[in-house]
Each structure stands twice: as structure tokens, then as C-alpha cells.
Assembly symmetry: C2
Homo-oligomer: 386 residues x 2
């Protein structure tokens, strides 16, 4: 059995989903090296090196810790390690992943005050300020950098400007956006950032990360919620020694080290610029094609496109994959069938964007949508040519 | 940076730790295939195929679920999904991993009645029966098939004979032993079995498994402990559809499928026989060398050897790795420096055992222990020649 969905090697597979994202070939090779014991001196050096490189990506002086889990494991860890039963927290819900923060809090008996933002929109920082004023007993704000289900970017810098001089902790889900959209943990004053391996970090899924500042660490000392596998303090203390509380995904760590080396060599600010250019080119193309963007303030991570009436997104996504080897992501939940999401994330360059746009144009034409072939591609090229 | 600890390609690396264990080359190649979206039709088929093959390995008709985590994630999941706050449970503690059951239960406010067994020994099933009689309000027994920290095998068949006709659930940590030591979930009447990818299943760490019978699933409906990422019911329901609640470690799943195909082709009963022969040969060799086995009733998974006074296990293990590329595991916790653990687990055959024994003899000679070179190897060969 093969991973490749195509029967012909010439139908190459192109992955434009917002995670997993394509993996650089040298990272694959690192993961195919004979597996090693996670308590060896070499593994200690590897873990220390990764945790140091992650600081560059997180733009922080704070220590970063890792877990062997999906990003959701780090999200749950943030709730279970920072809060107490009966705490009241603000949760910004603007899609599936903001809703996930609320679900996790509820499971742990944490009371939530939601700010519900229409899908596709981004929260107004003033709304956060109002809620904090109205509820002076809030202990934390749970936010999302890029809401992957809609493609919307939230203004974390502005929200941090509100929380950082208050006793309220700001916890940010940067699962999909880390490495694509700017997040200056230290200089903005974000208290907790969580992310994972399979998006901007160009590594297969299976590793999650969290960075906490000193006041977030203080909160972990007060927290009375149960945690064992997701215990941040244990992961942090062991990590400082290049160790782990439990056997980690050692092959994924080997791949991550290579991927992080590439990001550090490019420089995280340049990584953001590359993603900004790819995002801008994609949006210029989509506008030229004549379709509306779904997010009012879109992230660099991915572009969500609202499909015209009469085009079923599920059918379109399936056809593109089955027939053309092009994997876009459809909509989730109530957006199912209504939007298509094209990621320009991780190990991607301008040519990948051209392939994504060109295939999109051809796919639209194929299902009978009136599209001028090449117009979107030209619009993308114009951005790149600047 | 390379995983290989040696500077010379000729100093090959041999991994004899009880996890991670060596990976078959075709599994590495599967994991190096271009990464795919976890919601594709191909991924659905992959997940369904894996969950079916796992039933053969678990020797059960029950559904198996998987998580992206270490084995400890599945252990915590068993506690969080089966129990209620204030429940009273029996925990068999005979080493680090039995102690882990107790630690997890305590974190969740579950009261434990321990049976403490000296390190290296296995629990007497009568002791379990006595405790169950003395505490009729116990809801579960937490046991370990192979206590990896000592190498001791516990008689799960006998314990299941006590619990299966009572309302008490039997939960077994088969993290290191699955695929090496027999565990007939269905015919013995074990309620819950948890395990992971990087031991007998010849796959890198990062995936954990759990199988529950119907009365264990009933218990999950009553459970009031918080869980989200480790929610067994969600993982189970999605798994039946070839899906997942959260992005799984897709490359590890690709490797696992290959590794499971090998085990299914060998047949799980033959897999046990191979491990039994390797274990028997190793023990015959160690006895011939003149060192005592640490476990009174050793598992097929690994052999723990008590080192003579004057030989520091930490120094010995480090020397074997640094100088000879041979990685054994040392002792953990209070056994640190006192024992050496040699695994014969997963993708291992008779020649691997010969290498492990031969290197062990030479290492002992090198640090001045009076050993007759070749005697242990010959003793191993004699077992294999039978």
C-alpha cells in the first residue's frame, strides 16, 4: 500500500493543506536514519539544539517546551497547567479552533466568557478590552493567531497591549501560523504561545510546543487541574537538561532539527516576508479570478475562498485531488462545501503558488465556471515580479 | 548534525534498549514518502487497515484506538476515561511503570490501594485476590505485563481469572511487551490493554494504542474525570470511520502499517515464539557468563542483569555505547548503576542476540571482569541450535 493517491508517477501530488505541509527532502532523510535511544548524549544535544532554535522561531527569550502530541495536546496543556477549577476566562471564538479553546476549558470546569466573532472576521481589540473591564475577575484570555478554519488573522499585538499590564494572561494558539505570521512573544508581551510541528515548521505531525513567560510559570504553580502526560513543568525541567519525561517521537525530532536549521538560516523575519509575498500573490490571483476572499483580515498562513453558488466545495476538492493530484482543504463544520482553503505555508516558494493558482483556474473551468485561464497566474506573477 | 554517535561508519550502531527498537528498512522508506493529508481517502484506508491489523496483535475482537502520544498518554487516558473522582483502585507496583499507574491515579483524585512487590519480582495472583476480597469497593486493577524497569513478567492470565467474573476492571500496561509476551485480551478476559509503537511494534515512538472491551466502554460512560486530547470515545468513534479527532502522526502511521504487515505475516504466535527463543538464549548466555538475572520471572521483552559489586552500570553502559556503538539500557531510579538491561525486542533475530552477547562478554573483559570469551555466545548458540 502506498501513500501516493495517483496510480501514475506522473500525476505528482501537491499538498496545499494548512497542515500537514510538505517536508524538505533532507528532513525526510534525517528521519530515515537509524533510530537512536532518546537518553543518549547525542539525543540530549539534539533536544537542546531544537529548544534553542525554537526560541528564534517563537521570537522569545523564554524557554520552549515540547510534547509528543498534536497541537491540541499543547492547547489542553495550556488550560490544564495554567488554570484552576472555577476560574473565569475570556475565549475569542471565530471558528473551529477558538471553539476548541472553549471546549477544553469547559471539560476542566473552567467558566468561559465568550466573544463570538462571525466566521471569517477577526476580533476587535476593543471588544476584548470591554470584556476585561466588565469582568474584572477574568484570569486569562484565550486567542488564536490564525483561525485556520476561516483563514482570519487576529491582532495579537493589540490584544497583548491590553493584557500585558493587567494580571490577565494572554494565551495564543499559534498552531497553524507560527513561522508564517509574525508573533513577537517577547516584545509584544504574550504570556503563552502554543504550536506544533506540521505547519510552518515543515515537519510531520506529532510534536507540539509551548512557550511560557515568567508570570505564566507562576500561574502553573497555583494551578490545581489534573495533568500528567501534558505536565508543562515536567516537560520544561527535563527539556532544560536535553531530556524528556516520556519517550519522545525521536525520528520527528531529527526531522525538526533539519527544518528548524532551514528557518534559522533564512531568518524568521525573512520567513514571514516569504509567506507574506506568497499570500499576497494568491489573493491578487483570487481577486482577479473574481472570487471573494472569505477572511476580512487574512493571515499569511492560508487563503480561504468563498465559492460561488452552484459550486460544491466538497466535490471540487475531491475532483482536484482525485483527478489532478492537487490537495486543497475544504471547509470544516458549517463551512463545509462553502469555502476552499489554499495554504501557502512552510516549505513553499513562488512556483508552488503558481501551481496552486494555475490548477485552481483549470479546475474552475472544468466544472463550468467562467474563468479566464492564466489571468490569476498573471496576477500572482505581478506580485512576485515587484 | 547526525544521529549516528560514531565518527566512523564502520562503528555500526546497535540498539538493544527496550524502546525505541530498530525499525525495518521498508518502514523507514514508507515514512519518507511525501506526506499526505490525514483526511484523504488514502489516509482513511490506511487508518482502517492499521486498526484491523492491531486486533491481531492485541489478540482481540475489540476495537483498538490510537493516539498521537507516548505510551504514557494511553496510560493516562485509561485512568481519565474509565474512572471517577474518588474511585478506589488496586495498583500493582513492582517498578517504575507500576508506580506510574499510581502517580496518574493520584493526580486525578483516584484513591489507590497498592500492592508493593520487590523490584525484580512478579506479583502473586493470590495477593490480588486477597486485596479484592478485603476491599470490595475497588473498581479496577492496574497491572503491568512486563515491568520494563526490572524485566519482570506478571501473570496477567491468572489475574484476569480473578477479575473477569467480578465487577472489577483489569487494565494492563502492555507498553513494552506487546508483540513479545503473550497477552490474550479476549480469551483471558482482560478489560483494557494499552501499548505504543516503539517496542515490539517496530515503529518509531509517537503512537499509543488502547483496546477496551464492552464493560470497559460502559465505564467510560460513567467516568467524570476531565479529558479532551486523550478522550478514548472520540478516538474510538473517529477511528471506526478511518478518521481522527486531531491531526495524527501521519508518517508514523505509514511506517506502522508496514511493521504491522510484517507481524501479521509472521503471525503473532510465531512472533512470541521468536521472542521466547531470543530471551531464552540471552538468559542461557548470562547464566553461563556467571551473572545473576535480576527478574525472578523474566519477560520475553528484555533481560535485566544484576551487575557484580565493583562494576558500575552507568560507566559500563556509557563505555559500550561510546566505544563500541552498542546501546544497552542501564537501570532507572534506585536501580541506576546496579543493573544492565538488554532488549531482544521487535525487529530482532538470532544474530542480533549473538552480537548483544558477544559485545557484553568483551565489555566485561575490558573492564577487568573475569569472563571466558565465547562461553556466553556458545550458550546462546546452543539454544538456537535446538
Amino acid at each position: 500500500m502506498q501513500w501516493a493517491p495517483s496510480k501514475s508517477i506522473m500525476k505528482k501530488n501537491y499538498l496545499f493543506t494548512p497542515g500537514p505541509t510538505p517536508i524538505p527532502p533532507d528532513a525526510y532523510l534525517a528521519m530515515a536514519q537509524p533510530i537512536d535511544y532518546h537518553r543518549s548524549e547525542e539525543s540530549v544535544a539534539l533536544i537542546k539544539d531544537i529548544l534553542e532554535k525554537l526560541k528564534h522561531v517563537f521570537q522569545t527569550e523564554n524557554d520552549v517546551l515540547f510534547l509528543t502530541s498534536s497541537g491540541t495536546g499543547a492547547m489542553e496543556g495550556a488550560v490544564a497547567n495554567l488554570l484552576c477549577r472555577g476560574d473565569k476566562v475570556l475565549v475569542i471564538r471565530s471558528g473551529k479552533f477558538g471553539e476548541r479553546w472553549a471546549e477544553i476549558c469547559t471539560v476542566y470546569g473552567v467558566n468561559i466568557i465568550p466573544i463570538d466573532v462571525p466566521y471569517g472576521d477577526s476580533v476587535a481589540p476593543e471588544a476584548v478590552e470591554e470584556k476585561l473591564t466588565a469582568h474584572p475577575d477574568l484570569t486569562a484570555v484565550f486567542a488564536t493567531l490564525c483561525e485556520t478554519s476561516t483563514g482570519a488573522l487576529h491582532d495579537i499585538e493589540a490584544i497583548a497591549g491590553i493584557t500585558r499590564d493587567s494580571p490577565v494572561l494572554l494565551v495564543v494558539d499559534a498552531v497553524s501560523a507560527l513561522g508564517a505570521d509574525d508573533l513577537q512573544m517577547n516584545s509584544w508581551g504574550v504570556d503563552v504561545v502554543v504550536s506544533c510541528s506540521q505547519k510552518g515548521l515543515m515537519t510531520p505531525p506529532g510534536l507540539a510546543f509551548a512557550a511560557l513567560n515568567s508570570r505564566a510559570w507562576d500561574a502553573t504553580e497555583r494551578s490545581d487541574l489534573p495533568k500528567y502526560y501534558l505536565d508543562f513543568r515536567k516537560a520544561h525541567q527535563r527539556g532544560l537538561e536535553g531530556s524528556v519525561p516520556y519517550t519522545p517521537a525521536v525520528t520527528l525530532l531529527a526531522g525538526l532539527q533539519i527544518a528548524l536549521s532551514h528557518i534559522c538560516a533564512e531568518g524568521i523575519r525573512n520567513t514571514f516576508s516569504r509567506h507574506a509575498r506568497m499570500a499576497s500573490a494568491t489573493r491578487n490571483a483570487i481577486k482577479t479570478i473574481g472570487l471573494p476572499l472569505f477572511a476580512t483580515s487574512p493571515a499569511n498562513t492560508l487563503t480561504s475562498i468563498r465559492l460561488p453558488e452552484g459550486i460544491d466545495g466538497k466535490t471540487f476538492v475531491k475532483m482536484m485531488r482525485d483527478k489532478h493530484g492537487i490537495t486543497y482543504a475544504g471547509g470544516q463544520g458549517e463551512l463545509s462545501g462553502k469555502i476552499v482553503r489554499i495554504a501557502h505555508l512552510g516549505w513553499m516558494n513562488e512556483n508552488d503558488v503558481i501551481v496552486a493558482i494555475s490548477a485552481f483556474e483549470r479546475g474552475l473551468a472544468e466544472i463550468g465556471y467562467d474563468v479566464q485561464l492564466g489571468a490569476g497566474v498573471a496576477a500572482a506573477q505581478e506580485v512576485f515580479a515587484k
